[in-house]
């Protein structure tokens, strides 16, 4: 082999390795995909936090013990992604069997803007999406430290901008009956998410 061929081979091998390692084997070209893959693998536990919902009830996450919890993170002043996110959540909600909702699975929208999203604001917002406040609850986490811990644990990145808005990543989060995060789903694929949840519920019924 002549030096030219060898050096080209070395360069190509190096670059292949670089791209391979840098994208987790051509799986993740954005940090968001990498984060999601990592979460599904590690299945972090939902941390102990105190939630305050639109009915001004406060409780910890163990309120939902023994039930699946379908979670989104949002803030009510959001005009871009969140309405879409919540609307899609509503469409998943509608596709689940009525008897399972509330019994086997609870929907929970968590605000990361506790300052502005008091129970009254959440209650108004709830109305837009026909959330009943029971089987689909909207809540804030008043304690900023607890909120930050949850966001960190679930890899939700929230960057405030100068106008009281936030840039944030969005997804459907599914926590299992034991309180572990088991899936992070693309919030734009409503049917896919609904099918997944339905399959999990049906599977449990079958056993």
């Amino acid at each position: 082999m002549n030096p030219l061929k060898i050096s080209i081979a070395v360069v190509l091998l190096f670059s292949f390795g670089l791209f391979f390692i840098g994208t987790d084997g051509f799986q993740a070209f954005t940090a968001e995909t990498a984060r999601t893959n990592d979460l599904i693998e590690t299945q972090p536990e939902f941390p102990e936090v105190t939630l305050e919902d639109s009915h001004e009830r406060t409780y910890s996450f163990s309120e939902f013990e023994g039930k699946h919890v379908f979670i989104t993170f949002m803030y009510t002043a959001c005009t871009s992604v969140c309405p879409q996110l919540e609307m899609n959540m509503y469409n998943v909600y509608k596709q689940l069997p009525e008897e399972a909702v509330g019994e086997d699975i609870v929907f929970l929208s968590i605000s990361f803007d506790p300052e502005n999203d008091d129970p009254e604001t959440l209650s108004t917002y709830r109305g837009y999406f026909e959330s009943d406040g029971e089987t689909w609850r909207m809540a804030r986490i008043p304690d900023q430290k607890e909120l930050d811990r949850l966001l960190e644990e679930f890899g939700v990145i929230v960057i405030p901008d100068d106008n009281g808005h936030y840039t944030h990543n969005s997804a459907f989060y599914l926590v299992n009956r034991e309180g572990n995060l088991t899936d992070v789903m693309d919030y734009t694929k409503v049917d896919e998410a609904a099918d997944k949840v339905n399959a999990i519920l049906a599977n449990e019924k079958g056993v």
Partner: protein, 184 residues
């Protein structure tokens, strides 16, 4: 003289306040800091070329391996994930400086003069297409591609990519339609 300027520039860019400032804005990170690091390597290149002339002569025949290395390293750093990783992992940040200076800037200088016009133009065409494509991706993506930057910054970066692509395109067009010998 040039290698010393390059080294000073390289070290200056590495200073935490300088790095933080340039990285705080997405388009500065991609289209200012990264090219500047590569330029610092470009300036340092003569030092290595004089020190190891045999190495470059033997392993960088016709400049082809070097220009491929340059192209692929630059391409790697245009992936959104790479930028995020550089901000969250110290090792990746360090690798960014080293790879852009010594695996992009140095090989570019060591290769460019050896390249035939065909290869030079191929490099321009490649970067025109790549920057055009990256520009469209950053502009049209509905989702946030980098977790560390706002979506509005992503659009700015998209326009930055497109602007470079357009400039390269104009260069390529004039290559075809203007004959320099008309003006000599």
């Amino acid at each position: 003289m040039q290698p010393i300027i390059g080294l000073i520039m390289f070290l200056f860019l590495m200073l935490p306040p300088v790095a933080n400032l340039l990285e705080s804005i997405m388009i500065f990170h991609m289209h200012m800091q990264m090219p500047l690091i590569a330029i610092s390597g470009f300036l340092m290149a003569p030092f290595f070329m004089e020190k190891f002339p045999k190495f470059f002569a033997k392993w960088n025949e016709r400049g082809i391996p070097g220009i491929i290395l340059f192209t692929l390293v630059m391409t790697y750093w245009s992936i959104p994930r790479a930028m995020d990783d550089a901000l969250t992992m110290y090792s990746v940040e360090l690798f960014k400086f080293i790879s852009l200076a010594f695996l992009a800037g140095v090989p570019l200088r060591a290769s460019w003069m050896k390249l035939t016009d065909f290869w030079k133009n191929a490099v321009f065409v490649f970067f025109t297409l790549q920057y055009g494509l990256m520009g469209l991706i950053y502009l049209m993506s509905d989702s946030q591609l980098c977790n560390n930057y706002l979506q509005s910054e992503q659009i700015t970066l998209g326009w930055g990519f497109l602007t470079v692509a357009i400039a390269l395109l104009i260069y390529l067009i004039q290559l075809v339609i203007i004959d320099p010998s008309d003006y000599e």
